[in-house]
Amino acid sequence: MDSIAGKKPALIWAVHLSVIALVLLWVVPTFGLLVSSFRTGDQISGSGWWQALSTQEQQLSPIRVAGEEAERDGAFVIEGTLFPKGGTTVSAWGTSSREPEAHAPGDTADLGEGVSLTVQADGGFVLTSPASTRDMRLPRVFTTASTPPEFTTENYSNVISSPMAGQSIGQAFLNTLTVAIPATIIPILVAAFAAYALAWMDFPGRALLVAFIVGLLVVPLQLALIPLLQFHNWIGIGKGYLGIWMAHTGFGLPLAIYLLRNYMVGLPRDIIENAKVDGATDFQIFVKIILPLSFPALASFAIFQFLWTWNDLLVALVFLGTGNDQQVLTGNLVNLMGSRGGDWEILSASAFVSIAVPLVVFFSMQRFLVRGLLAGSVK
């Protein structure tokens, strides 16, 4: 007894530590994505998100001098600042890519032909030229500077309110809900009946049928895309919501039936037999006893199915279409990224926009998830 009691705290510590490690493993990238979603594309490609949180000194890409020209004492002068947003401190600067750190702040550099440039520590500059600079290519300034953290909400406003070419995210949001809600409810309805029959009604070939359905779990849905769409066209429903509901139902049913059947088989036989003795029909048993008892399993499958249909892109593209008015959220976000993709700032911001609804669903139903999973599949 002593040895077991002595081991316990160590075991608990190990469990706690590994839980913390796992949580960190999941949370850190998400946090990085969140930070990135508030940075501009150039910032994201220029430095890591962990550097965005504190003041960093780095060699900045060249900035071209620009501003209104004024004539003073026979010379043409342009005054201005390299960093209109302020807060940046220049520690060295230069005008040649070969020597980007040639000058200290406050120094005056001779650019040839009488042109001179002074850059101050705060980024303020004075360009003096004996001739008008209007037709001249103004110099670039390379700076080594420390920049305070800088964030923007522009990515979110781009994702939410600046629709490209008639695609609006509001419409896409509604489309996704129109797809996801029926595509979650229909398979649950069908699967609950089927699961009851497979669990508690005696008929020949029942075991084979269960094996067949479990076998269907391994069929990749990509295999069915073309034949199923052909079938939809043949029976005349074509591309549309009805089609995608049916497709999602079909693709979701094997898992739904398998989960629910396993859960229902585990319900106490006594209750059901008592009800039968009392003269209850199968339908009454199903509605009055099985359904209320199976609620955790139903809820956990609902979460699965909802998340899957919410995040789905492929099935929506194939069965709903790609037009602006049929586009689901995922399709809309992919299109926002442009013909060649790679807009990380859009990607990170849109990830957080699209994650909102699944998070609500998950947190409101998660207490069923663990219970349902354990009770259903770990038999």
Binding site: T40, S97, H232, N233, T322, N335, M337, G338, S339
Partner: protein
Amino acid sequence: MRMKLAVSAAVLALAAGGAFAQELKFPVGEGAFNWDSFKAFDEAHNLDGQTLTIFGPWRGEDQVLAESVLAYFAAATGVTVNYSSSENYEQQIVIDTEAGSPPDVAILPQPGLIADLVRKGFVTPLGEETQAWLAENYAAGDSWVGLGSYAGADGTKALYAFPYKIDVKSLVWYVPENFEDAGYEVPETLEDLKALTEQIVADGGTPWCIGLGSGGATGWPATDWVEDMMLRTQPPEAYDQWTTNELAFNSPEVVGAIEEFGWFAKNDAFVAGGSAAVASTDFRDSPKGLFASPPQCYMHHQASFIPSFFPEGTVVGQDADFFYMPAYAGKDLGKPVLGAGTLAFITKDTEASRAFIEFLKTPIAHEVWMAQTGFLTPMKTVNADLYGDPTLKKMGEILLNSTTFRFDGSDLMPGAVGAGTFWTGMVDYVGGKSAQEVADAIQASWPK
């Protein structure tokens, strides 16, 4: 330009309110556009109440540009146009045609894929008249006809796809001021380019930024390099035979071209980050090294679309520029240019889709896009002064000065090679395998 685009996109979207934009970008009758062609087309076509679905590769900003052109088609014919695109348009079009619910017109950048669809009988031939029109009105017309002609289900070859919008690929991007700071000249021959590469290394710099990363398509930028080298070391006939596998992939000619690419990419001193970074750098991030301080590299080989991945505010022509990827002076192969482009084809034969192909023959369908950005056309009757920026004009000149124009070879090859083993083979090659090994493997994967 960017800002203006974004604003006009927002205005367009507001005006359209979710439906297709009817606002015309340039008012009819104003400017140096070929409005006569538009009016003649307008009078000849009245298809009020019909709809046309177009499936294309353009998304985001490109989609805004494409729809600005389609608005003129809609205004002239009265057809309601629904343009759509999707990320996996190559798979999407196959699924849609196979299942029997294709769009009316599809526009794709892969002739190899279109050839597959034609062979399965999903595409309507465009007819002899269009073929004659292309041959006459496109610069190097016969090569464009060849590009759009495939063998149909019954084996007879005919014109099925109409080339519209092309990209030039044989470009090297650089920052003119970085060249000036170091005293480098734009090379005129491939020998000079190699000498410049060595010179930059001798001066302590890194000449090239090369990035092959592109998600599932990782490796494709290297295929452009190899194709460019193929055109610079072999006659165009050998290039054509290569794309059809008459010239085996592991023949010495092709292996030589791969090794020419390797001269640049497999030398740690020549590439930013060393050759190990080539395969892992994303092609969209790769050009950013040109603008770093100090510069991570001096040159970047990429097609005409790449400025959209330059840092915000970069002015092409001032902050960055390009030169023609030169040819060997020592080999008498002229000035070959590698390009890519999109081809429109009819997947559902309706009056509206026929009218759309007719619309692509009007100069206005080209001019509206070229007056904005990112559009090149080989059509001879357009007003070249309309090019939206000097950069496009310069690219147009490269195109017109070329002695040989060849389409991106990997798009012409069967998908299993051109969008498969060629890509992965190039990743293996920069990863350390020999050119012969890689070429043997690609040859073995060629569908029999």
